[in-house]
Symmetry: C2
DNA sequence: TGTGTTTGGTGACTTGGTCACAGACGCGCT
DNA sequence: AGCGCGTCTGTGACCAAGTCACCAAACACA
């Protein structure tokens, strides 16, 4: 990735003026982060805003009992707003972000971020848009766990994970983490799906047999 | 409330320069909003940022089945960030904000807000701080509903609502809405608290008899 | 004093979460 | 091949929480 052209990967930033683009590329650096790195978490405040060039960051919460729930994911072309919040407000995180894959990212120091927000309406739009999207994601999570039945949520997740293919590589434990429930509950639910002939299972693999039925349940 | 001095009510804004203060007071107006007004909600995008001078706004989500859950409250001295998000990003709300009391608020038009963010580091700090706090609130809600037992959450809520006094004026239905559960569940849980001699109930009223026991449960 | 509305109580049942195990499978090692 | 070990999955018993269908008590007010 050349230092000069990463900006084009961010639709929201493509309309920046030439000077500001120059300023941004001059005062930031592209870094690589290995998979499974904890990017931020309780007690680990960062000193820079990250813009993801490639890879995904998983943001999750863990309970004292060890149960986990995925809050949202940051994909390539997006920014880590949580980092931003703390960048500006000096608050401590209450969730953690983990590199789900190897990452390539642009690191923007605090003062550069502040100047960009001040000088560019486009950059402001970009930042507030990112916030807005995370808020929306979180609202969706709350709605799901508070009101939606688990079999429906699991069906949705299976459809999401099996885009086009009919094989999913994952464990019951990971699915439980996605939905914020316990492994046993997933096991039972998948056993029921299997009994109905919707899926077939092997260790670490789920085969989709009847996508239509699963989809029908998912959109209830 | 005089037009000139409302700014002092916002700690985050008290350090604004004299010019910007003038600009802000000149280009905003103080409005009154009656209790139970729906300030924003799905399909009701606002054209201005609200800063609360007095009263509280309840932000909640409602399921198709009619169950509700309170996400957070905006108190006097705070701003409605959700409004801000949509102000800047033009996105549609997926939660609704309701005036829990009569409100007095400062309404700031979109373009004034944008200029303030551009021109004032203090205002930026104020806005990002507000976002940061809401994010934190939402994380807490997710954690609560996903991982915490209901009896503990109810005990916490009782302690919170009964600050100093030993009487709470509320209905089982409202408590259910606070915690995102069903009325019957609250009724049963309160019946159990009563059986233990921790509370006494009458229609629309709960008397705290043994605050220490409730507190002990709350902080598990 | 009656009548409608709001609030609370209850039983039966379903769904979801917890706990304590026991197998089953994959994989490296000798 | 056979062994050992860690990870993954299956299961039963039990508890907690949500749903459904009603009913009863308290209140509001004509």
């Amino acid at each position: 990735m050349s230092h000069a052209d990463w900006i084009m990967q961010f639709p929201g930033l493509s309309r920046l003026s030439t000077e500001l683009r120059q300023y941004l590329t001059d005062n930031s650096r592209v870094i690589d982060i290995p998979v499974d790195t904890v990017i931020f978490g309780p007690g680990k405040p960062p000193e820079q805003l990250l813009l993801l060039l490639s890879g995904t960051v998983r943001v999750q919460k863990t309970s004292e009992t060890g149960r986990e729930i995925v809050l949202y994911r940051v994909h390539a072309g997006e920014s880590c707003v949580l980092t931003t919040a703390c960048l500006m407000a000096y608050e401590d995180y209450s969730a953690e972000g983990i590199a789900e894959t190897g990452l390539q990212a642009v690191a923007i120091p605090r003062d550069v971020f502040d100047r960009m927000v001040a000088d560019s309406p486009e950059f402001r739009q970009f930042v507030f848009m990112a916030y807005s999207r995370r808020m929306t994601d979180l609202f969706a999570v709350v709605e799901e766990i508070a009101f939606r039945r688990l079999d429906i949520r699991l069906a949705q997740k299976l459809i999401e994970l099996s885009s086009e293919q009919h094989t999913i590589q994952t464990t019951h434990q990971k699915l439980a983490g996605e939905l914020g429930t316990a492994r046993e509950v997933i096991s039972r639910q998948l056993a029921e799906f299997q009994r109905r002939g919707w899926i077939e299972q092997a260790r670490g693999v789920i085969h989709i047999l009847d996508r239509d039925q699963i989809k029908a349940l998912a959109k209830q």
